[in-house]
Symmetry: C2
Subunit: 361 residues, 2 copies
């Protein structure tokens, strides 16, 4: 297929094999992301349905449940862990603070449920390894929504077919005004090292260019360098209000990335190859007019796919892909082992900044 053809098919699902079916989801935590993105995305999905809500308080869960006709049960975390209402769901979506992924994923695995776990998969490499080990018997997908974004998948195909020659360099950035965007105080766990893990901006944002570069290149990180700093008092407990880092991949490609929790709401991904470059922008934050541009041989092909709510669409794609795999009992990618590579890279990036050295992944 030619580059122009690829760019013209940016809305097509290239993975769907299921014809019908329903995966019943328990939403673990009802923070703003679950309420504003995940639940609406599941409403839009073909193969998923929200049937259980799990929250800190039964009141909060019940109030939310009243607005969603498909919900059969509203549970506290303790009730969920104890195995209540296990007949009412087939899978869980874990969207708690990072350091709580492990106990709820463990509980879900004990109940024999499939798991869609938010990224980073846990707060530290060690806890992530425990999570992956504890969930070996059930399907586990880590929620890298970029990997089921149609434009990102086209970008990967274009790289693989040589549309820009051999990849040489990647640029990626992601930033937001966290204290404004994540307005719910309860979600400020991102500034608490016990809950977030290594830090604030690379764990939460930098993981997007890191993982999307891995996916687009089909390559894994080998070594990293990093500089970080926190200027404002609110970021006093984390090293990385702002971060810049480089990644060398096992195919020789080198990435230069930035992440910030105190900058404009924006992101981009650029892959420079020996014969051209691909740019996806804006990306990562669900802004409209996400546009994939191919520069090659003096030509410039540009395709905005017209999605108005890119984030919700990405979440819908992710949930349907998860359901497609779980219902067909098919292998899932990105799985836990894939996510562990990111956890090693994240640990290395924070180590690199702290020790002032290049760190192997």
């Amino acid at each position: 297929m030619s580059a122009a053809d690829y760019l013209g098919t940016v809305r097509d699902r290239d993975w769907e094999q299921l014809e019908s079916g329903t995966l019943r989801i328990a939403m673990i935590s009802l923070g703003w992301w679950t309420r504003e993105q995940a639940i609406p995305a599941v409403e839009d999905s073909e193969f998923c349905e929200t049937t259980v809500l799990v929250s800190r308080s039964r009141e909060k869960a019940s109030a939310a449940a009243a607005e969603i006709p498909t919900v059969e049960a509203a549970l506290t975390y303790e009730e969920f862990t104890d195995g209540e209402a296990t007949d009412e769901y087939d899978a869980v979506y874990v969207c708690t603070p990072n350091a709580l992924h492990l106990p709820y994923a463990e509980a879900a695995a004990e109940h024999g449920k499939a798991i869609l776990c938010e990224k980073p998969v846990e707060s530290t490499r060690e806890r992530a390894e425990r999570l992956v080990e504890a969930t070996e018997e059930v399907p586990l997908m880590v929620a890298y929504r970029m990997q089921t974004d149609p434009q990102v998948r086209r970008m990967r195909e274009l790289v693989a077919e040589g549309a820009i020659g051999d990849p040489v360099a990647v640029h990626g950035s992601m930033s937001q005004q966290m204290l404004e965007t994540v307005s719910d105080d309860a979600d400020q766990w991102r500034l608490d090292p016990d809950l977030v893990g290594y830090g604030a901006s690379v764990m939460d944002l930098g993981i997007y260019p890191l993982n999307t570069a891995r996916f687009v290149l089909g390559a894994d990180p080998v070594s990293v360098t990093a500089q970080m700093h926190s200027a404002d008092a609110a970021f006093g407990d984390v090293p990385d209000q702002h971060a810049a880092f480089t990644i060398r991949f096992d195919d020789g490609t080198q990435a230069a990335c930035t992440a910030s929790q105190h900058a404009a709401y924006t992101g981009h991904l650029r892959v420079v190859g020996t014969d051209g470059e691909l740019v996806l922008e804006p990306v990562f934050l669900g802004q409209p007019e996400q546009t994939l541009t191919l520069h090659s041989d003096g030509r410039r092909l540009e395709v905005a796919d017209g999605r108005r709510d890119v984030m919700r669409d990405e979440m819908t794609e992710e949930f349907d892909y998860f359901a497609d795999r779980v219902l067909r009992d098919a292998p899932i990618h990105p799985d836990g082992d894939h996510a562990l590579v990111d956890m090693r890279a994240l640990e290395a990036i924070y180590d690199a900044a702290e020790t002032g050295t290049t760190v192997s992944v």
Copy 2:
């Protein structure tokens, strides 16, 4: 002035004070850059004229001179150094391999001539310091053509007036297929450590995002990290066929940059601030349709200034700015001390890659 007004005036010179005058230039070396860019740019300039050509062989110089009516003398390097034809020129443009800037700049200073010296100002920090010291008595400008590019100057003004809030992160890349672009074998000094200095891609290309970021931010580098590698045999004597590096600046901004001598002919510069971002693309390599884009508050302002030959226009601006300053006996920026900061940063970037550590500048 508003952002829209700035973007609308991207062709205006904001520095010209001279009304008339002519600076007579001796071109030191007749490599492809001098022949194809510098001499045509001087032909286009208002205040410069090429009156002397200096080359390895008198034959080459005379043959080139025959095609340029303004040329009064064609010299060998030795004749130039010995002070021949000093009445025929007021200033020199030094465009030799990096490690030959010092002897010809020294000679020019001894002859009392103003100097426009290509960047990097020399091959190593030590030699650059010697060059700056040896030329203290004459006007010295280092040829950072981006600093007199009208769009780059508007970008700097927009940053200074707060159009994107406080700058947080910079991305910059520059790459070319050196073995194809720089086709003249004699110009392959870029792969000879004795002539090029620390390496091939950061010295020759990475210096563009480094220096342009400095100029646009009004900030200087504090510390750097880097990863480099050379894969192809032709690059066996230099560490950086490809490079990725980070720079922390003294205003807290952090840059993530890449440079490659074996990738597509392309470059970009992005500044992300707390309230928006500015992107200049394509840039550095003189491609047409160089476009300055401002994203802020959901608005997107985009201005391509319509220049067809951006490189030649940039070189003309640079020469006229240099003449404006020399003929008026006015301070020059970028001067030698400015260039020495880059040399310290370049040395640090290569040190960082070699030692695997974060290096202070």
